[in-house]
């Protein structure tokens, strides 16, 4: 991505909600609905979500201070953790108590905060693992070459296609360990797309990514929406959130405290107090008094 | 590098002491005889040594052997699918006891039995001796006897377990060579007694304990610290401890052979306490010393700076290091103390079994792991509680199941604990899976 290209302005989805905006507001076309999800660790309540709905084919951001329960909520929804109480459904199908691997097969893919690219496998092997269509992964079928070879070729072609999109095709036979941190993030995202998921849940996709790569990553996420997928991501980078999110959900101390269109939410005084800070648009230097900038026009 | 050489030197010195040991003779079975008649002579569960057994068969075959230190005898016989007559020479029994009836086998007279060698080619049989008439021991007395025995065993296990637990807590290593650190105490004492004579037993024990501590120092300085500096992975370290265990175990066998040796005083008389419950002098001293050592150790852990530092490192290594605790120094101390306690535990184990063998540590290694896991890997107090429970369980289980299966109970508990409460009784609930 050359820095001379003007980044495309994302087309935002509007009118996602039904009725007045408040935490837990219903959506016109929800892909994921969660009710009374509670997770306690000893005496500490990590997650306590009464009701939340994720709109289909939109990009939703989940924001909130550290320890608000965002990653725990992710883990609960995708089967990587078990709640004390709660039900949630994906496309109408209940996911409560469903094992993590089954959730993934139902079209709900997640990534991790600390990238889980399998370093000791090659990039191509990583991609092939992403597919759920390979019969040869079953024990008995794996013994007979002819049963899976053709599918393997198909999957390899699909993988190569995705790798080209993410600019990783040249590295397809290298061990994932030799990729840079940012490239591994891209690999994880590319791999997640091998199953053609409906809902992609990204846990801090920008964490540790250098600024040059951020733009590229944003484009890829926008492309997901273009291709009909729904995206739910956790982030701390407010510029990114404002730029691409259609909807924002704010969590604090395990509860959903605010929801809405990005600009509305970020003007919400409670959210500003708890999380954003009142000077989040200003240069850090001017806040601490170290530098003085000429008065800027308010950034959009 | 100089440190490593010094450590190697210390290790050589420690192991060199073993060179003073003389091996026992191995058992001999007539190699020309393909089949075997073997058996046990026991007096109320205690083996009786030096009793003469004569086996006669058709065709004029006859062979005579004495029972070994473990009360067992083995006789090679030429044919199978035939009967042999096994006679116990009562004149070779200790004073005041004779053969009693054993309702489970056919007998001609009490001290003469028929042994049938079937298609398997081997047969085992037992002689039971007692005070002429069988007395049924009161159930309560049996339970109390087992309880005392169990506590004694548990205290001995505790000395080895706390070391293992602390080593795990501070370094993350599951130290399979701990078994050999236990054996070291016994073998070193044996070797030194051979050098000083029986009267020098206290001196030998004292020196052996000091050498055990030295072994711990040598192992950390020469092996574990260099590996830590290399940032070796935990799985690799575990495998290193396995290799170390193998090497040291066979080193012991090299010095003392495959047989069983005894420390002086191993056959001390049992003093009746009440009813049928009795405890030998050695047993009492052992319990007393164990308790004293454990109390001293607990005080060290709770009140001294190093002790507290140890607990801090076990709890949260990075925070401890960031707080300025000399982690390497504390780990060195943990190895020294852990090895010292293990060595002492080995001496007690030599009296409890009784007997010293090259693999005696290995026999209780799994019990030590069971105890530390039960109590909570990484906590010393947990290891203590776990050891007492395992000790009582092992000794107590022989009331219900055959005594050669008594370790199975503890092993099943080990597996069970890992399934239902992997952090153990006192451990922290962190991810263990």
């Amino acid at each position: 991505m050359s820095s001379n290209d003007k980044p495309a302005t994302p087309v935002k989805s509007t009118g996602l909600h039904v009725g007045a905006i408040k935490p837990g507001v219903a959506k016109k076309d929800p892909i994921l609905i969660a009710d009374s999800v509670r997770r306690q660790f000893g005496g500490l309540t990590a997650v306590d979500v009464e009701h939340v709905e994720i709109p289909r084919n939109a990009i939703t951001a989940l924001i909130g201070p550290n320890g608000a329960g965002k990653t725990t909520f992710f883990n609960l929804l995708t089967g990587f953790d078990n709640p004390n109480t709660g039900t949630w459904s994906f496309n109408g199908k209940s996911l409560a108590g469903v094992a993590a691997f089954k959730v993934a097969r139902m079209g709900l893919i997640r990534t991790f905060q600390l990238t889980k690219a399998l370093s000791l496998l090659t990039v191509m092997d990583n991609m092939k693992l992403g597919s759920t269509q390979q019969r040869g992964e079953k024990l008995w079928a794996s013994m007979f070459h002819f049963l899976w070879k053709k599918k393997d070729v198909e999957i390899e072609a699909q993988a190569l296609d995705l790798l080209k999109r993410f600019n990783l095709d040249a590295k397809k036979d290298d061990y994932a360990a030799s990729l840079s941190g940012g490239q591994r993030k891209l690999l994880e995202m590319a791999r997640a797309l091998m199953t053609k998921p409906e809902l992609v849940m990204l846990d801090e996709p920008m964490a540790g990514v250098n600024p040059a790569l951020t733009q590229s990553l944003l484009e890829h996420i926008l492309n997901l929406k273009k291709e009909g997928m729904t995206v739910l991501f956790v982030e701390h980078d407010m510029h990114m959130v404002r730029h691409i999110a259609d909807w924002v959900i704010v969590m604090a101390e395990g509860k959903v405290v605010a929801e809405g269109d990005p600009h509305e939410v970020m003007r919400n005084p409670a959210v500003i107090d708890a999380y954003l800070g009142s000077h989040q648009d200003d240069d850090l230097g001017t806040i601490t008094g170290r530098i003085t900038l000429p008065k800027p026009g308010k950034e959009k | 590098m100089g440190r490593v050489f010094a450590a190697v030197g210390a290790a050589v010195l420690a192991f060199g002491v073993l060179g003073l040991a003389t091996p026992a003779l191995a058992d001999v079975v007539n190699p020309e005889m393909p089949y075997k008649v073997s058996g046990n002579v026991q007096n109320k569960g205690e083996p009786v040594a030096g009793v003469t057994i004569t086996v006669t068969g058709s065709g004029g075959f006859t062979a005579t052997v004495p029972t070994g230190d473990d009360g067992k005898f083995v006789v090679g016989v030429p044919e199978r699918n035939t009967d042999y007559t096994v006679t116990l020479d009562e004149s070779t029994l200790p004073e005041g006891i004779a053969v009693v009836d054993n309702p489970e086998t056919e007998f001609v007279e009490g001290n003469v039995q028929i042994a049938s060698v079937g298609p398997g080619g081997r047969v085992a049989m037992n002689f039971f001796i007692g005070q002429g008439e069988r007395k049924t021991v009161a159930w309560v007395d049996q339970v109390v006897q087992r309880l005392i025995s169990g506590i004694n065993f548990g205290l001995m296990l505790a000395l080895a377990s706390v070391g293992l637990s602390l080593i795990y807590g501070t370094t993350g290593i599951s130290n399979f060579a701990h078994a050999e650190m236990v054996t070291f105490g016994a073998v070193a004492t044996f070797a030194l007694v051979g050098f000083f004579g029986d009267a020098g037993l206290p001196l030998a024990i004292g020196l052996a304990i000091i050498l055990s501590a030295g072994l711990g120092w040598a192992l950390d300085a020469g092996l574990w610290r260099p590996l830590r500096k290399r940032n070796t992975g935990l799985v690799q370290l575990m495998i290193v401890s396995i290799g170390l265990s193998l090497a040291i175990r066979y080193l012991y066998q090299f010095f003392i052979g495959g047989g069983t040796e005894q420390l002086p005083g191993a056959d001390s008389p049992k003093i009746p306490l009440f009813g049928e419950v009795s405890l030998s002098v050695v047993g009492m001293v052992s319990m007393g010393l164990s308790v004293v050592l454990i109390v001293i150790f607990a005080a060290w852990l709770t009140y001294t700076k190093v002790g507290k530092a140890t607990r801090a490192i076990s709890d949260n290594p990075s925070l401890a290091a960031a707080s300025g605790i000399d982690v390497d120094g504390v780990i060195r101390t943990v190895w020294i103390i852990g090895s010292l306690l293990a060595g002492f535990s080995g001496i007690l184990w030599a009296y409890f079994r009784p007997g010293i063998r090259w693999d005696m540590g290995g026999q209780i290694l799994l019990l030590i792991f069971a105890a530390t896991t039960l109590g909570g890997l990484g906590t010393a107090y947990g290891a203590l509680i776990g050891s007492l429970i395992v000790g009582i369980l092992v000794e107590g289980s022989s009331l219900f199941i055959p005594s050669d299966l008594k370790y199975v109970g503890a092993l099943v508990v080990l597996i069970g604990i890992l399934l239902f409460r992997p952090q153990g009784i006192l451990g922290r609930k962190e991810r263990v899976g």
């Binding site: - | 590996l227 495998i239 055959p402 099943v412």
Partner: protein
Amino acid sequence: MDVLGILSSTASFILDPTTMAYALAGLGLAIHFGFAGLLNMGMAGFMALGAYGYAIGVLTLGLPWYLAAFVGIGASIIFALILGIPTLRLRGDYLAIVTIAAAEIIRLLLLTSAFIDVTGSADGLSGFNGPGGTITNPIAGAGGFNGSNPIPDGEFGFEPFLDDERTWYLRIVGAIILAVSVFVVWRLVNSPWGRVIKGIREDEEAVRSLGKNVFAYKMQALIIGGVFGALGGLMLAFSTNVNSGVYVTSLTFFLWTALLLGGAATVFGPLVGSVIFWVLQAFLGLLFPALAKLGLLPFDSIQAAQVRFILIGVALVLLVVFRPQGIFGNKKELTFVK
């Protein structure tokens, strides 16, 4: 010193049934640890079940040898299930402790005098391969393993591989089992199933998030590796009697040494590692006593035979620290090395 005698005895170990047994068990361990990352320290238990299952199948159940062999294999599968269902979710070093404990329980159960009628207790079992017993002692079943031998009586081959027909039959059967096993493992490991297993070895959660049932894969690996272990025990039982004293934790540790030597995550590593291991230890077991008898070593010949075991322990330490990938392995693929 009889140099030729030593060399010839050593060379014969290359085609020795014991070496093949080790290679088979080593293949199993390669699947468990090398490919799936399972720290199985109880392989001796799987071998014991294979050997004893077969022997008991012949002696107690009266089955012909080829069916009795399946008893051994079946026992190892059940053992893997019982072991795996509760423990496969445990972390590495916990799994190591549990597997050692399980193998010891098996050994103690085979050793206890309570079951002496079936297991032979401390004396073990023998005479189940027959015929070869006396007329007064016929063997149950259709002639036993040795009875199925089509090779006519006599000695064949050339020094140092000059042996009777029984040994040759054993070698051929062993070689066939080994060849099929190596082929199976090679296929498995280079298939999509193998790819999933290698992924699990590195990061279970990642693989789970890609829709694979991680528990099922680990269980499959445990069972398959266990079956190979049982086949190893079976080879040992074919060649001699069975005794619980063989299936001790030292055996498992020797297997690990042979495996790491050859290359834990390779298909031919277990084979080569086992051959080198057994040949070396046979060689040293003959060389050292001979040197001792010549007075060249400061200890007697009985002690000299023990020295090689000490060296095995030292070799294991050096191996895992300095060359954990073994002869054939690829360091880039190892998960247990930092």
